[in-house]
Symmetry: C2
Subunit: 356 residues, 2 copies
């Protein structure tokens, strides 16, 4: 394939956190070199990358130099500013492409994209004013969740409305930013599918994992999820429709609620995903390598699982458990972050629970 | 344990080849940063390391600065000059320690160490002159192999003597360097044990792998090796005796010939070993992380294998097979070397053949 990156090619990664770090290692395994672009100093990815540019996303000269120095650009987070992408795209291909980014950057656009595909979502309404919020609450009912349309992650930028009387305070919390009201979905569990689509349009998915969140942050993913065979295949087909509809290239994380009426799509992330970290221990080709294969124009790995795995995040003070975990035979992945703040992802642990 | 390296500590690695590269990635997984010391430019390990010093092993100032900038020093090859080690040891602990290095650097010392431990080796004799070689050939017989005592690897620095008449030419080939004559062992197969010993004296071994060499270079390792249960346990016990006798800290590769009379120890390498690359795909904790755990004062992983694996080296022009291998679902590990010279290790492939 002519779009196949040559051996030794340079992959640019926007964002130097743990996802960039694990992408860099996976890219090296395939013989590529990685150049990280990250505003913060001493970022986790820089410890295992070929080059690092430390500069702001508003630094046009640095962005341009970075884009000219690499063969393809990818990213570890979906909130890359549009202006930065404009500059980069003039110099190098960005994968996954703009469409997936713009859809996922805005919760309203995302919900509309999913609805247009015929996929079930939570009931939703765009909300900018108190009047719109009142109408939306009338239609959707309570409890409901008011979320900023942009820049939300790990439970940030959202507030729960239990009774209509809380509406004004909720709106004030979001400080006038464009928002979306979402109905609360009555789900029995949450699963996620890590899907990949290659440059040639081929699609490969890992088996769904079952997620447990705490305080809006992923705590644990168990693979396989407790699903029937037909549910498993439904979940994978939903993710496959999404990546195909977006003409997507790379790995995508798709979160699904399991409900009595079938799957409801919660959201997707146009990147490798925390709920796919189990693939490092359960599969021959993990989600990070799968992403690199896709953006490099390589054939995708098949996503087969040799072992069942429980992945647990180490968050904030959990880092103190490392000494004990190190004695258990589980696979530790620490991110090299100096300071353990509450809510900060410091690492994760993959534990094999048996053969697949 | 007080000797346990703190999170974020810096590991110095002498040598920036593929072993240093894979050690660096494993160290990062445990939250450490790696500083590579390597004379050659653009070395494989530099692509995934925190820092790299490009300087000769004769550069005292560079060695001293390197040793002062790290918390512990390890190495990816056994031929580190003694003078360089003297300088480094004055500044930082070196693991594995000097004893293992000095024994393994000299084939004669190595054979004597093994004999003293009561382990079987090929018959051997020190040879410096034509007269000594004649006596040695008389005692050991032909065919035999004349090897330089120092600086041999991948079949380099050795010559086979099929009849006593070839003795003079063989000695000339080695250019007067101190040598050892070794009898040829009649073996049915070669296996290797990847053993590890922690700072606390605990020992853990991976299951033996069965090796096939071509032209003196490892071609393939298959795990499990075709051994009886009692042979497997014998092999592991031999390696365990060796690491304990050397008060060793780190991973060691021990090559054993399987003969009708039991195991004959061929040689050992005081470092991670090519025949242990299968552990990356077959085990939760691979040989590289095991080595890092040992030198960092962490508890060792247990070495259990979840899958059977065949590891195949990609040597020289084999690199052209990457496109085909990428379609097979096997795990590729490419070393990021720009030029594929004959005999040069460019990467390896791990293929799971079934559950363990």
């Amino acid at each position: 394939m002519s779009d196949r990156l040559a051996a030794g090619a340079i992959i640019g990664i926007l964002g130097g956190g743990q996802l960039g770090r694990m992408l860099s290692v996976a890219a090296a395994r395939l013989g590529f070199r990685c150049h990280i672009y990250e505003p913060g100093a001493d970022c986790p990815a820089a410890h295992v990358a070929w080059r690092t540019t430390t500069a702001a996303y508003e630094d046009a000269a640095a962005l341009r130099a970075f884009a000219r120095a690499v063969d393809v650009v990818t990213y570890e987070f979906e909130n890359v500013p549009a202006e930065a992408l404009d500059l980069i795209e003039a110099e190098a291909p960005v994968r996954p492409g703009r469409r997936a980014l713009s859809v996922s950057q805005d919760r309203l656009t995302e919900k509309e994209f999913l609805s247009d595909l015929g996929l079930a979502t939570a009931p939703f309404a765009a909300v900018s004013t108190a009047a719109e919020l009142a109408l939306a609450l009338d239609r959707i009912g309570t409890p409901a969740i008011l979320k900023t349309r942009r820049l939300g992650y790990d439970g940030k930028g959202q507030v729960r409305i239990t009774t209509p009387g809380e509406a004004a305070a909720a709106l004030a919390t979001l400080g006038g930013r464009p928002a979306i009201l979402e109905g609360v979905v009555d789900f029995s569990s949450e699963v996620s599918v890590i899907a990949a689509r290659g440059l040639d349009g081929s699609v490969a998915c890992y088996d769904p994992g079952e997620n447990v969140h705490e305080g809006g942050i992923l705590r644990k993913t168990t693979v396989p999820a407790q699903l029937t065979a037909s549910q498993r295949s439904d979940a994978v087909l939903i993710a496959a429709r999404m990546v195909t509809a977006l003409d997507y290239v790379g790995v995508m994380g798709v979160e699904l609620f399991v409900t009595a009426g079938g799957f409801v799509v919660n959201e997707f992330a146009p990147r490798v995903h925390n709920s796919g970290h189990w693939t490092q221990t359960g599969c021959v080709i993990d989600q990070f390598e799968q992403h690199v294969r896709a953006i490099a124009g390589w054939p995708l790995g098949n996503g087969a699982r040799h072992s069942n795995v429980v992945m647990e995040n180490l968050i904030g003070a959990d880092i103190a458990r490392v000494a004990e975990i190190a004695t258990t035979g589980a696979a530790l992945h620490l991110y090299g972050k100096a300071e353990a703040r509450p809510g900060r992802k410091m690492g994760h642990v993959n534990r094999i629970t048996g053969p697949a």
